[in-house]
Subunit: 210 residues, 3 copies
């Protein structure tokens, strides 16, 4: 039953990530097929890079449900465009849920590969954030990751909590729950109170040419 | 003899893809070396990503002919710039030939790896289209793949035909020919009659910020 | 002792590459975290792609010092922003040192994998230059690699010298030193005398659409 719950959350996360990719595509002269691809890379991009770096078979090669979920997301967008306006905050919640879960999945897979804890945290962060970076690069935008929001930091925070809980020998399932919640709450608070890291100021015009 | 014919087509495809990368580079303050690199990634980018995803050695590591063909393409462009104007439709034909062949090569390699049919079709599509996407990203453009043309869909269509032919037990070589022709004809018709998928309309200004 | 010297140079190169990524980020509404990531991908991006192509474990998974060095680079930038103005040419020197060393490291690792010489040179060039390309793509710029500077050609030149020295049976350490110096001197001279490859002129407006 726990597995089913995880899969449900994972599919919700995939759905939300796919929708976030497609919404970015809207109004930019991108056709349905392009929107599907953008939604797909947003949803599976992070996990794919993680698997390439770990040298394991990309997760979606073994399982078609991510492609189907993205197709469902596309149909949903086409059918319920107007309602999506009112869904804004719900989607943001899904997206944040997905971020938390994807981060935990990335950490968990990396632990299975026997990697040191700091690499696991990096892999978790990559799993959660790189899809959005690829989406922004394909749409010719400076990645949101670099400009606003602290969701990458939320992944790192959740990863740290994961290993603290592990150090004190909490049971596996509980660790994952706490770590995912940390990512989620961290991001929700940061967005609600508009917490941002300081920006890097221009050093000088001339130097920044190089 | 069949092998030689395949290699000839593959090199023609590589040549056409390389030229398409270099033409995009022209007039953008890109030097010869940059043009060569752009042509190269356009030609080998899709197959390289496919091989990384499949966990096999990238095809060009075992064989220098793709680099040489790209060099020939660069020299050709530098020598015959003016003639290339009149070659426009010929190059488009090469490019389409390359698309069909690269798609079939990608599918065929994926079958050898024992992957399910839908993954093979995805790998074929990646082989045919990702080089052009990398080219556009490097040139700071929203990929053509997302905006116009339905060549990615042509790859999927050709891939479907491939597996239908396989299901009815046609001989290997014939299957490959039919599938490649499907991609080619599909694209030629789509371009000739200006068939496009609908675009994804803007949902709203506010929502598309996120 | 030779190993320590190599590691020192490698860390200097990492530091310089990280700083070059962060300087590009400055003044572009990028926060500290984003600057760190940009510095990191600039420093490790080339070696990571090389390792993915070679099918070996990415070098930074086994060793945290690249992440720490990038952190030191970020702190340095935040603390000594003003001084960095005067450091301009020193940093350029570091960057060039790093380029030479990274190229040689890439070649050396590829030889260990038993690859033919021209693949080794390509891998050396990838190690030295791809980090900067990823940096530019993430910052939504046409890569500097394509527009100015001939540092990619310097890598190829250094790689050629590497294999010439190897052919005449010079000792390993000496080969590496000569090859790295070739890259470095090549680039310094090219920048000092403003040597550039010719640019690829526009073919025609219409053709460049495709």
């Amino acid at each position: 039953m726990q597995i089913n719950f995880t899969i449900l959350l994972e599919l919700l996360g995939t759905f939300a990530f796919a929708v976030s990719g497609m919404r970015q595509a809207a109004g930019k002269q991108i056709d349905w097929y392009g929107a599907y691809i953008l939604g797909l890379v947003t949803a599976v991009g992070g996990g794919t890079l993680r698997d390439l770096l770990l040298g394991v078979t990309p997760f979606w090669i073994l399982d078609g449900k991510y492609f189907l979920t993205t197709a469902v997301a596309l149909v949903t967008i086409l059918l319920f465009k107007q309602s999506l306006l009112r869904w804004g905050s719900t989607l943001f919640l899904f997206d944040t849920l997905g971020l938390g879960l994807f981060t935990v999945v990335g950490i968990s897979i990396s632990i299975d590969e026997g990697l040191p804890f700091w690499v696991c945290i990096i892999m978790g962060t990559i799993t959660g954030t790189v899809g959005g970076v690829i989406r922004d690069v394909l749409l010719n935008q400076v990645p949101l990751l670099f400009r606003e929001d602290i969701y990458a930091l939320a992944c790192v925070g959740g990863g740290a909590i994961y290993f603290i809980c592990r150090y004190v020998n909490l049971p596996e399932g509980l660790i994952e729950l706490i770590a995912a919640l940390t990512v989620i709450v961290f991001r929700l608070i940061a967005v609600k109170y508009n917490v941002n890291l300081p920006q890097l100021q221009s050093i000088d015009t001339k130097a920044s040419q190089r």
